[in-house]
Amino acid sequence: MLASPGWGFWGMKMGWCFRAAQGAAVLAFSLVAAPVGWAQTLTMGVGAPVTSIDPHYHQLSPNTAVAHMIFSGLTTTDGHARVIPDLAESWKAIDATTWEFKLRPGVRFHNGSEFTAEDVAFTFARVPNVPNSPSSYAIYTRPIREVQVVDAHTLRLKTAVPYPLMPTDLASVMILDRETHAQATTEGFNAGPMAVGTGPFRMISHRNGDRIEFERSDNYFGARPAWQRVNYRMITNDAARTAALLAGDVEIIDQVPTSDLAKLRNDQRLALSEITGLRLIYLSFDHSRTDSSPFVTDNDGKPLPANPLKDARVRRALSMAIDRNAIVERVMEGAAIPAGQFLPEGSFSYVPDLTPTRFDTEGAKRLLAEAGFPQGFRITLHGPNDRYPNDSRIIQAIGQMWTRAGVRTAVEAQPWTTFVARAGRQDLSSFLIGWGTSSGEGSNPLRNLTATFDRDKGYGASNRGRYSNPEMDRVLDQAMRELDDAKREALLQQATRIVFEDVGILPLHIQKNTWAMRKGLAHDPRADELTRAHDVRPASAAK
């Protein structure tokens, strides 16, 4: 089906040529293996810059990765985003609005100060009060109405309403020391003196946008990391990062560009680690207008009297017209899996029988005719061109698939800064965007992406298409009050099913996360994309 000449077009696009040239430049040479001496130092090359060492200043995944190395939370998540104990050994809901956490005894901060429940209370008080924070962690502490310190290692958290996500949310909040950090400023963290935590590494030096150096902490309560020292370098250019690995300047890199994957896989001196991630790439539709939508017209270019995207049959037809397998194989070079819902298999609230929509151009045409568009219509599909792997090529492919199903599609890719502002203002009719479910469970995307936009409930903040389905909202509300995991999972599954049977958003694929390293290293890949030194060890060492 895909051999149509149209497919040649996106291969000729400038951006693609540029990237391909870079990739080819990197891989055009084969090289001599450098001798491998496993010093106690690990040098890592990461693709995204760390903007702050203050764990409560700017919520951003590169910052979280570094925070995990220096600090610890009460809870944390494993490679598959399941919540596991960290500074808290156990927790339970003792009544509908009270969570009790039992803390790990004998934990010390890097400077020797002892960790107690008072430090947790101090941390929760600091989180909402970090000056100038562009993205605060207060969203995780806001449900807490009262912190009760029962004894040095027991803590009770009171909430106004039942709040089942407390252990999940607290994985994002790094615990500081009441004595050390009483007057701590963000600058103090960045400069070094305040970068004191309970994590596996101590920070030795930090050069903004360049590198961070760590040393193993002997006070760490968990498994001892394999490295005495870690050099964490930020190399944002994809080709340069790959070259640094090939030259032996760094030993592991993240965000391997999909165009380099095949070559790196065949390189005898390298090893790859890979995991299905939590980032869904999807299309969002304009649900905010019942009359004409700005980028939808009839075949003569005149506005339609009503917005066809409000009709579930049209949305389903557009979903059927997309060949997800082709996008995954040809555009993403296999670095993704086709998606039919928010999360990959094995996640909490994954719906087993909600499979990706089957590719069926003829079926799509029939459905469009049934919805009153036997001749189709015209639409402009928007998307970013610098945000997600191959983003602009994906929307070009979809544009051709939709056109084949009778919906004549123009494609417009823009830089993220411009695009996301327009999408947030409901300026667009249909657009590609992504969502990383860091919590690894369904309530997070349901609340943020598909719940009705509601400021007071804090729902739908990233629902840029303004989808709204009262039935889904009702089930979600029920789930958000349900403390029993099994019952909550069933409710979340029900809400997820409502969204995708209605094609509230149109799921495309879930990205895979890939790391490349020198042979002889082993790495535990993480679904949440974090690159941390304690996930890397010599392959010979036991896990």
Partner: protein, 324 residues
């Protein structure tokens, strides 16, 4: 001279003012910093808090006036992303860029001047033709490609030089410099060469053209008739006269290198100002963008001033006066 300097300073103030206004309007037109900076999981209440915290809730003209008031007191604002003073962020990165730019400019002069001189004095020799052909490559090859090729050959293939990053540094006057250590120099070599390639070609061409033109002048013929040695004619009479265009162009190029060596700094992961500005543009970190461009404007004005003063030293006919 004083009038001349005063005029220049006034001009500088005017340009800086216009610049800051343009950046303010530009960022406003491109997009919304909050959309870029905020965690996607933030709810509406958190968004409103962040907008207020960064002062983006005020009308644009009010934000601009607040900025102007602070700028007059020497405070160019704090970075949205790093929560550190924008000026300090830029000054922290400045030594890295300065040493790269100075290295590249020196290389351009040391390599470009002799080659250009030779090509100008012996226009028909095959070596001169080779030099000219080489300079065409220097003009036309894109920097990102040359940079990657340098990395592939000297770092990946031969393993002689480190591929990316800045090497060991020593602290002098509170700033970190890498050109004083062996490791630092090794790291600097490729990015500096990559930056200088275009400049070398430029200097070769300017010098050659100047030499060829000057050699036909009456005073050169006269000097020759007077029996002066060819070396004296070349290095005293010709050289001084061809330097004027070279100084102008190298001066401006030097400014351009400091301000906009973005591509080279990205390819070599060089932690300089160019990388800071491109990262700041990507996240619409307005305070850093405004401060950066203001510094760049001041720098260009200073360089132009120095160029003008150098003129007057090189050519006694040029006088620095208030009237233009």
């Amino acid at each position: 001279m004083t009038v001349f300097l005063l005029r220049r300073l006034l001009q500088a103030a005017g340009v800086v003012l216009v610049m800051s206004l343009l950046v303010f309007l530009g960022v406003y037109a491109i997009g919304d910093p909050i959309e870029i900076l905020i965690s996607p999981e933030a709810d509406q209440i958190e968004r409103e808090r962040a907008i207020k915290a960064l002062g983006l809730d005020l009308p644009l003209w009010q934000q601009y006036l607040v900025f102007l008031g602070n700028a007059l007191r020497g405070d160019l604002g704090r970075s949205f992303v790093f929560n550190e003073p924008a000026l300090r962020l830029i000054l922290d990165r400045m030594p890295a860029t300065l040493e790269l730019a100075i290295g590249a400019t020196l290389a351009a002069l040391i390599i470009g001047l002799p080659l250009g001189l030779y090509a100008g004095l012996r226009p028909s020799s095959p070596v001169s033709k080779g030099i000219l052909a080489g300079s065409i490559l220097g003009f036309s090859l894109p920097t990102f490609w040359v940079g990657l090729m340098l990395i592939m050959v000297f770092a990946v293939q031969l393993g002689w030089l480190p591929s990316t990053g800045r090497g060991e540094t020593v602290t002098i006057l509170g700033m970190r410099w890498s050109f004083l250590t062996r490791d630092g120099l090794a790291h600097m070599l490729m990015p500096a060469l990559n930056l200088s390639l275009f400049k070398i070609s430029l200097v070769i061409r300017l010098t050659r053209a100047g030499v060829r033109e000057t050699m036909l002048m009456d005073y050169v013929k006269f000097a020759r008739a007077k029996g002066l040695s060819p070396a004296r004619i070349t290095f005293i009479h010709v050289f001084k006269n061809i330097l004027i265009p070279v100084v102008t162009v190298v001066g401006l190029e030097f400014g351009g290198t400091i301000a906009f060596s973005v591509v080279t700094e990205s390819v070599f992961a060089w932690p300089g100002m160019g990388k800071l500005i491109i990262d700041s543009i990507n996240v619409l970190d307005r305070p850093v963008m405004v401060a950066y461009l203001m510094i760049i404007v001041l720098m260009f004005i200073t360089i132009n001033l120095l160029v003008d003063i150098t003129y007057s030293l090189l050519d006694p006919r040029v006088r620095l006066e208030g009237k233009s």
